[in-house]
């Protein structure tokens, strides 16, 4: 792609997304769009830890922590959404720091198994511990939508789907900007080095343990943020929303799009989610077809769709 054209395309895309509710009144499209944004920034968050060469399968559990925190604070203590999302992110980051300091001692498949065990344990605690507070397997109902903001006489309400759409979009833009900046910073390059060879990184004086921990905490915090958006959009959460298979789904999107590139995960999310919406009316055949698409695409382009397009189609011009 032409380097000068890129900012123009991205600006146009952002403009289009910010004005999308003007073109459609369909709640269905808006809801799908919210989900696509949610999965987009969640997959970008998961990609942060994948940059250092690890895959966190406890990712959905940190989403669980974020959404339970905001749900409890808004339903039991009646705090405002604008306060609780920050508290939720902080608590998620704290838990991620504590668990991560243990988990990043391991690497590769062991890291994956350890985070998986941690994630499932968090989910089981949410399911079993203190049922009157956490709601047990039923979860928490009636999470309020964000409270209105008054800006000098002008009140902005956030109780509609469209408002949620803008919140999700703003969060997405935030996460995109942060991760994009991170990719191009010194830290991003250090993480790339760790991802390619952590022993080499240690030899040239990089503190592998700390860098992995920081990326784990950052990645989990994005998951917590995703949990906040998810809780306030659904107004209802239960431990079954945050299973290991949720992380798996995100991973499918990321690997499909290509984890090595920045836009890969987002392309994967958008393409596969729209595809699965089209397939929805076929019932159980949907997942079979979906499975075949994933296997076939990965069979012929295991490095991901975006990397393949970059490598083959664009270079050839």
């Amino acid at each position: 792609m032409n380097k000068k054209l890129e900012p123009v395309i991205y600006t146009l895309l952002a403009l289009f997304l910010f004005t999308l509710p003007l073109y459609t009144k369909s709640q269905y499209f808006i809801t799908i769009a919210i989900f696509i944004f949610l999965y987009c920034f969640m997959s970008l968050g998961l990609r942060i830890i994948m940059k250092v060469g690890e895959v966190s399968f406890g990712y959905a559990a940190f989403m669980c922590i974020g959404s339970y925190t905001t749900a409890l604070l808004t339903t039991k203590l009646h705090l405002s959404f604008w306060v609780t999302w920050m508290i939720a992110c902080a608590i998620t980051a704290l838990v991620a720091f504590l668990l991560g300091s243990l988990a990043v001692r391991t690497k590769g498949v062991h890291f994956f198994l350890v985070t998986l065990a941690m994630g499932e344990t968090i989910r089981l605690i949410a399911m079993n511990w203190n049922a009157p507070l956490l709601g047990g397997p039923q979860g928490i109902y009636g999470i309020p939508s964000p409270t209105p903001i008054t800006l000098g006489g002008l009140t902005i309400k956030f109780d509609s789907r469209v408002a949620m759409y803008f919140i999700a979009l703003v969060v997405l833009v935030m996460v995109v900007l942060v991760t994009w900046r991170l990719d191009r910073s010194r830290i991003g390059r250090i993480w790339d080095v760790i991802g390619q060879d952590d022993r080499l990184a240690a030899v040239i004086g990089i503190n592998v343990y700390w860098h992995k921990l920081v990326s784990f905490v950052l990645s989990s915090t994005v998951a917590g943020l995703g949990g906040v958006v998810f809780a306030h959009m659904m107004t209802y959460i239960s431990p079954y929303d945050f299973t290991f298979f949720y992380t798996m789904q995100l991973l499918v999107y990321i690997v499909f799009g290509g984890a090595a590139t920045f836009i890969g995960p987002m392309v994967g999310v958008t393409f596969l989610m729209i595809l699965s919406e089209f397939l929805r009316k076929f019932g159980p055949y949907e997942l079979i077809f979906y499975g075949f698409v994933i296997i076939l695409v990965l069979r012929f382009i295991p490095e991901g769709v975006v990397s393949w397009i970059r490598g083959n189609l664009i270079r050839r011009q």
Binding site: V55, L102, A103, R105, T106, V109, H110, F112, L113, V114, L116, A117, M118, E120, T121, L124, I125, N128, W129, F244, F245, M248, L251, V252, V255, F256, A259, P284, Y285, L287, I288, Y290, G291, F292, I294, I295, L298, R299, P302, E303
Partner: protein, 279 residues
């Protein structure tokens, strides 16, 4: 009672985790389709037993043969192309699991398949406690499979070759081992173990299309404890987990999870690779 429950749980976990660990040690892929293959084994045992009236022990063998064959086909058709991309391979395994699961849902129906009548359920008294006979039979059969596996891996030439390939794939290839053949055999072994797990556990509980998923999550915990890629580790891990759970359940159902988690954390601090794992 605690001991018997612990034994049943341990052997259950062993059957599920050992297949997973063998496939991983050779293919380098965490086979997320393993749960679906176990479910398939249970289905084969169910249909051969209830519709064709075949002896249950023979239907276990049929289930093992069927799942071994499916595993080898999957390896040839799918996994062979992902040798250099382990992550993509795992995702492809997820895809396979999805296809098998939904295929079973469409073809065989979503209801629970019950064939508890496959084994005698008489209660017998032993050492002052009453145990149902089917549990004892399952414990014995699983034990036989476990011992058979160990003998195969430790004392036969094929087992030696498999272990060597696990440790040093390139070196063993230089010694004249056909790696493709070895990995096909170990895939078949993993598949057969999955089939046995499906048939035996299916007879103990029930089989339904979504059944396999819940099984493999526990198997992952077993693998963390025991160390990935080692069958002895899987045995050890499943016994530790099985007994910790059966002790935990007598105290409080949910304390168990915390117990298991604390166990894992302590283990990680001491030995990140698992008890018997290697790089």
């Amino acid at each position: 009672m605690i001991i018997i429950n612990g034994l049943v749980l341990s052997l259950t976990y062993f059957l599920v985790a050992s297949g997973l660990t063998i496939v991983f040690s050779i293919m380098g892929i965490i086979n997320f389709a393993h749960g679906a293959i176990i479910m398939l084994g249970g289905m084969v045992a169910y249909y051969t037993f209830t519709f064709f009236g075949i002896n249950f022990y023979f239907s276990i063998i049929l289930a093992m043969a069927a799942t071994a064959m499916i595993s080898v086909i999957l390896k040839r058709v799918v996994f062979d192309y992902f040798a250099k991309f382990p992550l993509a391979g795992c995702i492809a395994a997820v895809g396979i699991g999805m296809i098998i699961q939904q295929g079973a849902l469409i073809g065989l129906g979503g209801e629970d398949k019950v064939f508890v009548n496959a084994l005698p359920v008489d209660l017998i008294k032993m050492f002052g406690i009453t145990i149902s006979l089917d549990r004892i039979i399952i414990v014995l059969v699983s034990f036989a499979i476990m011992i058979g596996m160990l003998i195969f891996l430790q004392f036969t030439k094929a087992g030696l070759i498999i272990r060597a390939t696990t440790q040093e794939p390139i070196a063993s290839q230089l010694c004249g081992v056909n790696n493709g053949y070895v990995s096909a055999i170990s895939m078949a072994l993993g598949g057969a173990l999955a089939g046995a797990a499906g048939a035996l556990l299916g007879a103990l509980f029930t089989v339904s299309p979504y059944w396999g998923e819940s099984l493999i999550l526990k198997a992952f915990v077993v693998i963390i404890i025991g160390g990935l890629g080692s069958v002895l580790g899987a045995i050890l891990g499943s016994f530790i987990l099985g007994f910790v759970e059966s002790i935990g359940i007598t105290i409080s159902g949910y304390i168990t999870f915390v117990l298991v988690f604390v166990l894992i954390v302590i283990l990680l601090l001491l030995r990140p690779k698992g008890i018997l794992g290697h790089e």
